[in-house]
Every structure is written in C-alpha cells, then in structure tokens.
C-alpha cells in the first residue's frame, strides 16, 4: 500500500517530465533524458557551483586548523536552512491541501500510511534543495582532507541526518501554518506574513554572510572553542562529517526519535486538519447595491482575487514585488555614493551606473512571474472562461495585466528614484525609466505566452503549476538569461556605443518584442486558449 502511494506521489511530482499533457501521451526517452538533464544542470551547475565556491573558500583553512567540524557545522547548517527554506512553503499544501486527500481518506488506507507517503514527497523536495549544499560540502572536504572509510561512511550519515532535520523543520513549520490556518480568517495573508519574516531573517544573514565568513576564518580557533564550550551539541554535529562514528550514531538516534515524534504529532492531527474546511464563521449575506464592470474588469478582478487568495501563489510568484520599494529606498540612500564610486573607478565610461541599475531592475522583474502559471491554474474551472462570451485574448490580457500592474507600479517608483538620484543627462534619465518599464511589459507578455503555450491542467495540488511547472521554470531562467544578455553585451559592445545609445537600442528592441508578443497573444494566443 505504502509503495503504491509513494509511487503515486512521485509520479505526480515528476509527471511533467514523463508525460506530455498537451499531446496526452508519454514523452519519448530522449525528451525525458533532456528534461532531467536540464533540471540537473540548473540545480547542480548553477546553485551547486555557488556552494562549491563557498566550500572551497572555507574548507582548506578550517581543515588545516583541524577544525573540520566547524566547516561541517557551518555548511551543514546552511544546507538545513536551504532545504527547509526550499520546501517549507509547499509542505503545508502538500500535506494538507492535496485534492486527493478526501479520496485517500475515504479508502481503507491507514492515516499513517497516507502521511508517510506525503512525507516521502516532502523529504524528496527538502533533500533536493539541501543536497545542492551537502554534496559539494562532502566532496570538497574529501578532496581537501583526504578520503578515508570513516569519513565516507560518516559523510553519508551526515547527509542522512541533515536531510532528516530538514524534514523535521519542514513538517513542524507546515504543521504550525496548518494550525494557524484553522484558526484565522485571513490565513492567506498571515501565511505570507510569516513567510516574509522567515525570508527577511534569511536574507539578513545572507547579506551578512561574507563578513561573517571572513571573521570566522580569521578567528576560527576562538569561535571554535566557544562553540565547544557553550554548545557542545553543535560541536558533535560538525564532528560527524569529520568521521566520528560516536557523534554520527548518537545524532542519528536522536534525530530519528525526534522525527518519529513529529510524525506522530502530524499523523494524529492530520485527519482533523485535512478534513476541516476551517472555522470561518458563516457569513450571512446582506444585499448591497451591485456595481457593473466590463468583462475585462471582471476578469482582471477575478485574477487579482485568485492571486491574493493563495499564499503559495503570492509567495512563489509575487515576492519580488517587495524588492522594488527596497531598491528605491536603497537608491535614495546610497544612489549618489554608487554613482560616485563608478565615476571614480571608471571615469571613461560615463553612464555605466545607469546601465547597470537598469539591468538590476530588469533582473528584479525576472523574479515576478504570476502570469506564467495562470492558465494552468484555471484547472477544472477552464470551462467557465471558455463557455462565456469573452475572447481568449481578453482572458489572456487579464492574466498578463495582473503581472504588469503589480510589477510596473513598483518598478516605476524604483526607476524614477534611480533616474533622479544618479547623475546623468536628461536623455539617459528618461531612458532609465523607459527601458525597465518596457522590460516589465515584455516579462508580463512573455510569461503569459509561456502560460498558454505550456498549459497543464492535470494537477491535484496547485503547488505543481505554481512551483514545478515547465512554464514557471522557463519563465524564471529565461528572464534571468535575458537580463544577463543585456548586462553582458554592455561590456562587450555597449561600452563602445555609450550608455544613451545602448539603453535606447534596448528600449527599441524590447518594445518591438513587446509589440510582437502582445500581437501574438491577441491572435494565436487567444485561439490557443480557446482550444485548450
């Protein structure tokens, strides 16, 4: 039974890799290999490379000082943070909000079996994220300190323990969110608020990281002794990676016990939470004067309502919105300093700061992608827009407009601040607003294009279209790619052209792409939506 459920979970999680929903048939072996290769390159190549660099920075000095345990403590902690951060947002929905919960609970399957299958999926997600840190950590250590049998065995146990801790944290946080969601009415916003606090702390430490690492390497012995004295448990945790069997077995036993207790708590409350429709008090309808809207306004309102009603949707696709006001404040406070630094370092390249700020603003836009999963999110409601007297292009326009409105307004604020603060000619200042704004239109249209081209309605949990769909993955990485091209080409050819001409060229090019994409959405895109 458990095997069947786990197989079902994993089939669902990786369905898009094996099954082409559009053609309603299995993918060819070549396509499956290509999809997995792409995924591995993304995870290992890009993120793994980042953590390999960090491991290479820390390992030699700490291993040489016989403080390998501190190296494992730091990177193991980072892996746990990364794993929990990566999977916490879908733990709640994966455990409690899956659409097949009712079906499974109605079948003669023990609740603990359902929970175990669900947790296997959570474990897989957490492990995928933490492995990006853990694998480089272990490999770099084995190469630097030398490969021995105890180090390899304990290294594997270190991996296992760290991923189990990730599972414990994910489950606990998911359970807390579930308890909150039972008590509160505006649970969507509360969940987002909690997540924002968590993310705020994460980035606070992230931005402090380079300073902390420098300080740590310089004072490794002092800090090491303090940890040993005051937090012995952390010392033993780090010792696992060094090859201490005692620490490994002790930690494994304690972690397994805690995991067992957490699973017990979750399985006991699972039925109550999963089967609950919340305690929201019955709202007795009071008639109010109705207001008419146009069809487009109605569709736009519906898209906004969908966005704000789902914490997963807001967190995964809209978090980048907050970065624009932060960038605006940063530019107001530090803009003249940034400009001064560039003028001093690169006196022959006037306007370089303007180009780079534009590139950064475009990169921030890349982190907002609510249009990309929007068509897939119609799910079983697709019959509604398709049977109503609205054109497919109007539906797509509403979906793209949500992203455009939510991006363009804060983008405009940040771009105007940048243009006002950085010393440039009037033309460059205008282009500093126009170029990023044209990019926001491009990102919204491009993500809507992906949404309709790669629509997938065969999901049982909305986290799949929001987080794991092809449209979202391509939207994020393609937008990063576009930004890299804009930034990279400046250093290759843009410097010769000068900032005004370079920004003007990109404004024209992106605007042309906007026109092309909007035209496509209004013609072929609309037809494609009608025929989904």
């Amino acid at each position: 039974m458990l095997k069947t459920l786990i197989k079902k979970q994993f089939t669902e999680a990786f369905r898009s890799y094996f099954f082409d929903a559009k053609k309603n048939q299995m993918r060819s072996k070549g396509s499956v290999i290509a999809f997995f290769a792409f995924f591995i390159i993304l995870m290992v190549g890009m993120l793994g490379g980042l953590f390999t660099a960090l491991a290479l920075t820390l390992c030699p000095s700490l291993a040489e000082a016989d403080m390998g345990w501190l190296y494992f403590l730091i990177l193991g902690g980072l892996a746990i943070l990364f794993g929990a951060f990566g999977s916490v947002f879908n733990t709640f929905s994966g455990l409690y909000l899956s659409k097949d919960n009712d079906l499974l609970l109605s079948l003669p399957i023990p609740v603990k079996t359902i929970i175990t299958a669900r947790l296997a999926n959570v474990y897989l997600m957490g492990t995928m994220y933490s492995a990006i840190v853990l694998i480089p950590t272990l490999v770099v250590y084995w190469i630097t300190a030398g490969l021995t049998v105890p180090r390899v065995i304990c290294g594997i146990l270190f991996f296992l323990i760290a991923t189990m801790i990730v599972l414990i944290l994910s489950c606990l946080l998911g359970w807390v969110v579930a308890r909150i969601s039972l008590k509160l009415k505006n649970k969507g916003f509360i969940t987002v608020l909690l997540a924002l606090v968590f993310i705020g702390l994460y980035y606070f430490f992230y931005f402090k990281a380079s300073g902390l690492i420098r300080d740590l390497i310089a004072n490794a012995v002092v800090y090491g002794e303090k940890v040993k004295g005051a937090a012995n448990i952390l010392y033993f945790y780090g010792r696992i990676g060094e090859g201490s069997f005692g620490a490994a077995l002790g930690f494994l036993a304690v972690t397994a016990l805690i995991l067992f207790l957490v699973c017990l708590v979750i399985s006991r409350s699972f039925f109550k939470i999963a089967a609950s429709s919340g305690v929201t008090a019955k709202v007795r309808y009071v008639e109010r004067k109705a207001k008419s809207k146009t069809a487009f306004q109605a569709l736009l309102g519906k898209e906004f309502k969908k966005f704000v009603s789902s914490p997963n949707y807001m967190l995964n696709c809209g978090l980048g919105i907050l970065l624009f006001p932060a960038a605006a404040v940063g530019l107001i406070l530090k803009g003249s300093e940034i400009s001064g630094v560039f003028d001093m370092l690169l006196p022959n390249f006037p306007g370089i700061a303007a180009v780079l700020v534009c590139v950064v603003l475009c990169a921030l836009t890349s982190m907002i992608d609510m249009a990309a999963p929007s068509v897939s999110l119609e799910g079983k409601n697709l019959w509604i827009p398709q049977s109503l007297p609205v054109e497919g292009k109007t539906v797509l326009k509403a979906k793209g407009s949500v992203q455009l409105i939510l991006t363009a307004v804060p983008m405009l604020l940040a771009a105007v601040c940048a243009a006002a603060v950085l010393k440039n000619t009037f033309i460059v200042r205008i282009l500093m607003v126009l170029m990023p704004l044209s990019y926001t239109v491009f990102a919204a249209a491009f993500n809507t294009f992906l949404s309709v081209k790669m629509a997938n309605f065969s999901w049982t949990n909305e986290i799949f279209p929001i987080k794991q769909s092809g449209a979202v993955t391509i939207a994020i990485f393609a937008n990063w790619g576009f930004t890299l091209v804009i930034g990279g080409l400046y250093f290759l050819v843009g410097i010769k052209l000068g900032a005004p001409l370079y920004l003007a060229l990109w404004t024209v090019l992106i605007s042309a792409a906007d026109v092309f994409l909007i035209h496509w959405l209004g013609t072929k895109g609309g037809t494609l939506f009608n025929n989904l």
Partner: protein
C-alpha cells in the same frame, strides 16, 4: 434555436460523436439520453463552444459557432456535469462576475439574483466562499448563474444530480417557464422518468450515433421511455 449538422468528434481514432444532427426549436425542452460514454457530454461541450469538433456545423440562434462563437455564447448558458467554480470567490462575487461578463445592468442583475437565490433558498449563503458549498449548493449557484443573464438556449449536463427533491422540482418548473417564454433547453439526463415527464422532444445516442429522435410520443409510443431506451440499447 440550435441546429447541429453532421457533428463528428474523434478522440485518438475513436469517434465519440459520429455524424450527429439535431434541431431544437424555441419553446422546446429537449432531452438527450444515452449510456455512459455514449457521447452526450461531448455533444453538449461542443455546443457550448468549449470543445473543438472535427466535422459538422453548429448554429445557435442563427449564428455559426465556428465563425462567430461570441454571438453564440451570448445567447447560451452552459452548466457542466460537475460545476467546478472559482472556490476563492463567494457565491455573490461569482454571480456578479458572470453578470459583468454578460453586461447585465446592476439593477437587473440584483433583481434576478434576489429572485433565483430566494427560489433555491441560497440567499443567506451567497456571502460564503464557494469552497464551503456542498455539491447541491454549487449546482444551485450554477443554475442561478445560468438564469441570471436570461439566455435563449440553456445547455445542461445532468442538471438534477446533487439537487434535493424540492430544488429538482423548482428546476423543472423553471425549465418549463423558460421554454414557454420562447427559450429552449437542451439537457442530458439518466433520470428517464424526469425526461419522460418534462421533455417535448428526446434524442437517444449510442456509441456516438443518434439512434432515435423525435417528440416524446414518436420515440416511446405506448411504451415507457425506460422500456424503449433499454430495448434500443440491447439492439
């Protein structure tokens, strides 16, 4: 009101609907019966404009569905067999959404919402999120959303499923009133007793092909509809 000419729809080589032709006039309650997988839902979805068909022509109130789908949809309301609606909206928000799309003036929609919500005893629950609705309440909401824009043709797939006896009775009355006022209704059902009592015309579909169509008397003669249906199924 509704003309279906030689409709054919194929799924992966299998003909779900095969050369089907039907004509529904204003004032007719037209029942559509057949076993599971016979092609009823495929036909209804094709009429509603949410399924592309391979061959044939559908016209609604004189408008060709293929070339002028918006004009057709303006005259039409469709209710699927399982009315999944926007869970994140309240009932009243959903009704206003539908009314906005059909450009129903505020005062007219308010009056209609009041009328139909009262009929189905759903008024008190209109402020609730649809996610909190039972299957029957969702079905009632879907019915109100269909009637709210006073369509000429109403297409329904198994409309009585999930409704309590009182609501079923009220729906039958509403269907009759709608057709008496010049509208038309095309619906599928497995409840043959209801079809027999309610329909002016009936069509029986088997393996995608129409095997019998006509007025109730023409189809069943002196037998019951159930007897005729079972006999035709066995042939």
């Amino acid at each position: 009101m509704l003309n279906i000419e030689h409709l054919t729809k194929t799924y992966g080589g299998r003909k779900a609907v095969d050369d089907l032709s039907l004509h529904i006039r204003p004032g007719e309650v037209f029942g559509f019966i057949g076993h599971n997988g016979a092609g009823k839902s495929t036909t209804l979805k094709s009429v509603a404009g949410i399924l592309q068909f391979d061959e044939g022509k559908i016209t609604i109130n004189g408008h060709d569905l293929a070339s002028d789908p918006l004009s057709c949809k303006k005259d039409l309301a469709y209710i699927p067999d399982n009315p999944d609606m926007y869970d994140f909206m309240s009932g009243i928000k959903y009704l206003n959404f539908i009314a906005d799309v059909f450009a129903i003036p505020a005062d007219v929609r308010q009056e209609r919402i009041r009328k139909y919500a009262d009929i189905f005893e759903l008024t008190d629950d209109l402020g609730q999120a649809i996610s909190a609705y039972s299957h029957g309440m969702k079905q009632k909401l879907a019915l109100i959303s269909a009637w709210i824009h006073d369509p000429k043709l109403i297409v329904m797939d198994e409309p009585f499923v999930g409704l309590d006896p009182k609501a079923s009775h009220l729906l039958k009355e509403m269907m009759r009133e709608h057709c008496d006022a010049g509208g038309a209704i095309f619906f599928s059902t497995h409840v043959l007793d209801v079809a027999e009592k309610l329909c002016d015309k009936i069509a029986i579909i088997k393996q995608g092909r129409l095997i019998k169509v006509g007025t109730m008397e023409e189809v069943k003669g002196d037998d019951s509809l159930e007897e005729v249906f079972l006999e035709l199924e066995e042939e």
